[in-house]
Point group: D2
Chain length 187, copies 4
């Protein structure tokens, strides 16, 4: 099955970025698009923290982590002012777009509709050519997400991206055992 | 830096496998070698569960998850009979080799010495050509481990391995919000 | 030090209860008052779940778990409509009062001020006679909270309240070991 | 139902204590007896850590936390030398008795048999008069365990034991929100 171009985003506002983000602007980078609602417990407890860790751990890679606030219920409860405070309190640093309201009274906002998302959180991977490569509703396993991101990053680049050939730099204190492991004292 | 061939394993016994495993036998597969001690808290709480999840999540990939019991302290406390019960109670299913005792009174067993491991848990990645590509002491991040495994799996194969092009198959109940997420009820 | 009467609550609205709650109305019950903000990460991740577990585990005891929404920052972001959706999505079932706005431009709401709370979450224990017995800012340890609640419950009643003399009713499947424990198969 | 005297313990060895512990010696103290096996995953992950937290949090109270190694399977795998290393690596500080082997080939050790324990972990509460007041197979909830311990401690003493009347001493940094909570900056 040939991947299709990812539908363009339809947003009303952007936070955590000086100017709106578009697929066009991000061409050449792999995109992790995290669609969430600020009052969705699974997003708050697991989805958003996962997106934040991706942003931190892959900081050196040609990868953009982008949030999308796709409110499809309790619209009055999750307005811009609330979202802004939410991002502040939860220390979300990546750019977040606000999905444009659905047309003709449709409670589903426009980008969410265009991607036919089934709810929140939804994790979407777009490759460096702007093609939709993965869409997953619910919380994704870190091991698999890491593997999928790497596939797209390797496609986008000539050489390997993540740490396989990096030397092991994690240093543990030269004690016996702690919660992390047991060290050989003489090394 | 050119990767060097992974040192051969020196073991006395194997559990969870009908016959001993060697690098030679596993050629063509990516190997995740998890070196642990059964009384190392960090191995029990995090390292071994991570290796087990890799074995399950990448079950269809050309990947071998192999354990190595590298006892370098409390040797009398972690003999074969204890290890056997440990693997049973913790439901460890992947093959586990017992590292051969160090020579000349060296408390560090032989494979652990050959790889210059600094303690347990140590995670080692060996590529399909038998070369040592990654060695990490302590608990590794799932996202990065997933990325590193995928790099080696993609090298070993022509096409992508993990789920990027798979359809999203995870289905949540059509309720409002639960711990995992918020579903659009009409989909 | 003689315990002093708990300051009366000053609220504008109540949710999850047909009529407003007052200290007077709850006299004779021990009260766990959980002061929170819906956008306070520590409240969402730990404080509110703890209050909910208390409400469930001590359901048969003369104990009232009461929430108090004490917004002292981002007031525009946490209005009634947002709080209502929050309680719905997080399945908070206990009654929640909305603390009355501070006077003369004080951002600290009135009940929060009267109790001199230092932030959110704050856990407050009030005895059956309406006296303030404990006030703690931050997340409280379950073991200690259980002990403190029991002290007040025992004071309020003649006999023991929680499970000490109850027969052990928790039954595990008669398998070998699972995540919870190891069963004797023949029992 | 009148509580009956707790059966005396039958042990072969004690670790972490200069001399064997008996019910007689501990009279006047509340006892938390934690029966475990060192290769029981539920004991390692949850039961033993809970017992350790009780020992730390109630350090000032007339309470003795006592471990009992009740091996009823894999006897060869959990001998004294292995237990000793286990206690060292997991930093278990409370006294641990080794339950005496069952008679006539009974795999169930003698104290375990006398208490009719159903497996491990089992948590047993004995009051200051040496009477058996609670026996629970599986992992116990912290809130309920705290309440039950407090009941026995209050019985054993004239006044309250745990923190209800202590001033709130837990201090959080005067920052905005962190993982623990949101502080009022001016306090």
């Amino acid at each position: 099955m040939t991947p299709r171009p990812a539908p363009e985003w339809r947003t009303t506002t952007w936070l955590n970025t000086p100017e709106p983000l578009t697929l066009e602007r991000l061409r050449g980078k792999v995109i992790l698009l995290h669609a969430f609602q600020m009052l969705c417990p699974g997003c708050v407890a697991r989805g958003i923290p996962q997106a934040q860790r991706v942003a931190e751990l892959f900081a050196g890679a040609p990868l953009a982590v982008v949030g999308l606030h796709t409110v499809f219920e309790h619209h009055e409860a999750m307005k811009l002012e609330s979202l802004r405070a939410f991002l502040h309190e939860y220390r979300v640093k990546f750019p977040v777009g606000v999905d444009a309201p659905g047309e003709g009274g449709n409670p589903i906002p426009r980008t969410m509709e265009a991607y036919a998302m089934r709810g929140t959180p939804t994790t979407i991977l777009i490759d460096a050519q702007g093609r939709l490569r993965r869409q997953l509703f619910g919380v994704h396993d870190d091991l698999l997400l890491g593997a999928e991101l790497q596939t797209l990053l390797l496609e986008a680049q000539a050489g390997p991206v993540a740490g396989v050939q990096r030397p092991a730099t994690q240093v543990l204190p030269a004690a016996a055992c702690d919660d992390t492991g047991c060290a050989v004292l003489s090394r």
